[in-house]
Amino acid sequence: MAEVVFDQASRIYTPGATPAVDGLDLTVTDGELVVLVGPSGSGKSTALRMLAGLEPIDAGSVRIDGRDVVDVPSKDRDIAMVFQNYALYPSKTVAENMAFPLKMRGMDKEERGRRVRQAAELLGLTEYLDRKPKALSGGQRQRVAMGRAIVREPRVFLMDEPLSNLDAKMRVQTRSQIAELQNRLAVTTVYVTHDQVEAMTMGDRVAVLADGKLQQYATPSELYDRPINAFVAGFIGSPAMNLLELPRSSGGVTLGGVEIPLPRDVADAAGSRDRLTVGIRPEDWTLESTEADAGSVIKAVVDVVEELGSESYLYAHLADDTSTSIVVRGPGRVQVRFGDPIAVRPNSDALHVFDVETGARLP
């Protein structure tokens, strides 16, 4: 159990170049599961490795339970890490793999056996204890890697994209297993992924990174409802939020020949800007009748229909501007097909408005 603090931590590979991790400020409270999420190259894995001691900390500090770990080697930081490829020792059995860190600490055989059996039971690995990794499936290997981390009873769990190598179904199953395990053990966990669905479903709080910088650090619902900039808005949520650069009009913005009013505070914050980036989530469009009055609905033509059973997603381009595409969520049994016209109206309470250049949220 421990608190993890990144205090202006930076990792600079070559002096003068863009830092891989740029002045990261992040606090993980005791027992929390925090997810670091971002696209490739965002610095999330590097930040995790800095915490693990596999990357040096070039500036700032990283503290575990108040203690600065910059000069502390990995094995003395009381952490356990699960890698994307599980990093199981191929010549050792499952039981030996799980006992290895305890053996390195000089624990006696009996105590090792006890802890391994306990962890194996927790993870459903008891019947596999004598197998070698090559005789296990991906999901089983993943659980062995977790078991090896659990037996240590560390202060912090570190996980680097542990689900990326699993097939889709296994991923969903294992995701909830990890979340449940973390709840039960209440160990501070830092979890890295590029998958925003994993981030949203597992994290108590989520940190979105891009280009080495922290974009936003908040609960999943806050990230979803109030993204702090256009990057977070477009990254969180699947399918991605529609981000459209629209010209200002007297009452708001114009899209497809229709004026969309902006709320008072947003219009004030927008000031004299003549163009704004407006974000509309797929579920924040209303599908109207195509017969409706041209001035009140936006007309579009369907390009792709994705039927998911419980809902559908319509990918369409604007009738009078074929270069602008939108994604609209529709009902589960939608009757439209490729080439059909649709009419939509955005929900003006659910608009996210950002500055065109900086991407910052307005207000």
Binding site: K75, F100, M104
Partner: protein, 296 residues
């Protein structure tokens, strides 16, 4: 004798004319048989000299000298008796000693060196590797005179330990290069995990890395054994009756009176046998080891 052959070109022409190609299975089988025959021919062509040598070793001297080569003959073991009675024993022992000792020494030195070079490459790593391999670029003929002088000065002529040292130096660069390529195959994450688990470096090497690269060690050891066993130039120049190795012994058969084919064949077969047996025993690991790097 007129022979009509249907060339592949004919088949291609008919196919090119838009005709339906012959059923795939049939054509595949024909091609396979053809390839099989060619492979056998090549294989026999390569193996034939060795096969002939082994056959000759079971002939009498007279049978070995017939103007037309004799394939059917009455086999005899008199050549092998002759070889053993002419004192190959000590030479065999020296060869085994020099080979085994030098190979063990090479492994002891090359494995940690290769591990270090693979684990943490620095700017100088390429230079170091080049230096190693550059020592093999010098023809041994060019170095033999200074080596002889030095060995003579320290009174180590005709001494098996001289050969052990020289063979170790001879095989070390190859061993380092080979082992390094195997070490590079070990995923970096495994080493990181071991370090997080608290394993010191030597323990990581012994318990985790070595089991993974063991086919590589087999392959490297066998290569070193082959080179040391067959090494002739150092042996013939620096040893005589005391520390002579099997290649030196074989040369003794080439006397001014002429070559005793059959007996020479018997001696040569005996000389080749240990390495062939070693290769046979290790062949699974050898294939695994030698092809390991190729899959990358």
């Amino acid at each position: 004798m007129a022979v009509t052959t249907s060339t592949p070109a004919d088949a291609r022409d008919t196919a090119g004319a838009g005709a339906e190609p012959t059923p795939r299975r049939r054509r595949g089988r024909g091609a396979n048989v053809w390839l099989g025959v060619v492979a056998w021919i090549i294989g026999i062509a390569f193996f034939f000299p060795v096969l002939w040598m082994v056959l000759t070793s079971f002939k009498t001297e007279a049978d070995a000298y017939t103007p037309t080569p004799k394939i059917i003959f009455e086999p005899t073991l008199e050549q092998y008796e002759g070889v053993f009675s002419s004192g190959i024993g000590p030479y065999l022992a020296n060869s085994v000693g020099a080979t085994v000792l030098s190979t063990l020494l090479v492994l002891l030195l090359a494995v940690p060196a290769a591990f270090a070079l693979s684990l943490r490459p620095v700017k100088k790593t390429q230079d170091v590797l080049f230096f190693f391999i550059s020592t093999k670029m010098l023809p041994v003929v060019a170095a033999i005179v200074p080596i002889y002088v030095v060995v003579n000065e320290i009174g180590a002529l005709d001494n098996i330990w001289t050969l052990v040292v020289l063979y170790t130096g001879m095989n070390l660069p190859i061993a380092v290069w080979m082992m390094r390529s195997f070490f590079l195959e070990v995923p970096g994450e495994l080493l990181e995990q071991a370090s997080i688990d608290g394993a010191p470096l030597w323990r990581t090497l012994r318990e985790i890395v070595l089991p993974i690269v063991s086919p590589g060690i087999f392959a490297t050891a066998l290569i070193c054994v082959i080179f040391a066993w067959n090494e002739f130039f150092f042996a013939v120049n620096l040893t005589a009756a005391n520390a002579g190795t099997v290649p030196v012994f074989l040369v003794g058969f080439i006397t001014s009176e002429g070559l005793y084919w059959a007996q020479l064949s018997a001696a040569a077969t005996l000389a080749a046998l240990p390495v062939v047996i070693a290769g046979w025993v290790a062949q699974n690991k050898l294939v695994q080891g030698l092809s390991f790097g190729a899959v990358k």
